[in-house]
């Protein structure tokens, strides 16, 4: 006698549940692998930031050089300060001596504040150097200087955080006569 079998297999609902579960698991695995490749928006310096050296003077005092430097914000945005390096060789294309280390502070010596290799012009995290404003700082260095590399920096909002960003594309290189 022929034995009676249930030929229905899995029900349609179970089939759909299995299918959807697999799709969800696979998409989760793919998401985990690819999520890190989505670029995160970061604060970067606005285009149009610009500075220029308004005037400078270099005075030799014994073996030291006093550099008085006045910089003007001639761009379209307020800035917080600048990174400054000097070159001690005439043919040097990248200045490597961190001038910020030699900042002189005091009454009548400018409002610059050293922050690492940067010079900022306000204690608070603000872009205090407004449009067309000039700022002055004095430095007391040993050794000759042939040129200055000055890169403006400004605070930019990065989500909820305020970050000091460097404006590399607005860097200026100024030949100076500080090598008597």
């Amino acid at each position: 006698m022929k034995k009676h079998f249930n030929k229905n297999g899995l029900s349609e609902i179970i089939g759909y549940i299995l299918l959807i579960s697999f799709a969800l698991i696979m998409s989760f695995i793919v998401y985990q692998g690819l999520v890190t490749y989505v670029p995160v928006s970061k604060a970067d310096c606005s285009e149009g930031v610009s500075i220029l050296v308004r005037n400078y003077s270099c005075v030799q005092e014994g073996e030291r050089y006093i550099l008085n430097l006045s910089v003007k914000n001639n761009g379209k945005f307020d800035i917080a300060g600048y990174f400054i390096y000097s070159a001690n060789k005439s043919n040097q294309t990248i200045a490597t001596l961190p001038v910020a280390n030699f900042l002189v502070s005091g009454i009548g010596l400018g409002t610059g504040i050293r922050a690492g290799n940067a010079i900022l012009f306000d204690q608070s995290n603000e872009n205090s150097v407004t449009l067309n404003e000039g700022v002055f700082a004095q430095y007391n260095l040993t050794g000759k200087m042939y040129s200055l590399d000055i890169t403006p920096a400004r605070y930019q909002r990065d989500g909820k955080k305020l970050r000091l960003v460097v404006c590399g594309s607005s860097k200026i290189s100024e030949k100076i006569n500080c090598n008597p």
Partner: protein, 158 residues
């Protein structure tokens, strides 16, 4: 003739076998891919460190045995791999490990400049440098990552 049961396995058993087989194969492929794939290192939150390499901006020059590197962007450069090429061969050095006194201990931060005295100046034909960044692994540990040489290596001909 001897009677043979021609019915085979039931559809339920066949489906269970099929599903079990798919799960096992998927597991094998997943473990294999995970084994050969690199561990994702992220920087700036969730961004893969490979994308951060695209945002690295630096300028380098070599003069009188001295290599000057300036970080022009906002991505801190943790280390640099330096290839010194001379006499048809080259040697690789890490600026952080091999020049600890000249390379900043925390790396070349934004706006930072480093000056490295390159040893054995005579006969140096080319110097190639590749940035190394530091990010976080999935477990939260700090990990360094050398940007792809073919894409981000900077060569200076002397």
């Amino acid at each position: 003739m001897k009677g043979v049961n021609k019915k085979g396995v039931s559809p339920v058993i066949a489906t269970i076998l099929l599903v079990a087989l798919v799960i096992v194969i998927a597991l094998i492929i997943f473990l294999f891919m995970r084994g050969i794939g690199e561990e994702a290192i992220t920087k700036f939150g969730k961004e893969n460190i490979k994308l951060a390499c695209e945002n690295v901006e630096f300028k380098a020059d070599y003069l009188d045995g001295e290599l000057a590197i300036s970080n022009m962007g906002d991505v801190p450069i943790f280390d640099m791999k330096m290839k010194i090429m001379k006499d048809g061969s080259y040697e690789t050095k890490s600026l952080k490990t091999d020049f600890p006194e000249q390379w900043p201990s925390s790396g070349l931060t934004q706006g930072g400049v480093a000056s490295i005295i390159v040893p054995g100046e005579a006969g140096v034909e080319k110097i190639a440098i590749t940035p190394v960044l530091v990010g976080k692994s999935k477990q939260g540990a700090k990990k360094s990552y050398t940007c792809e040489q073919g894409l981000y290596e900077y060569e200076i001909t002397i």
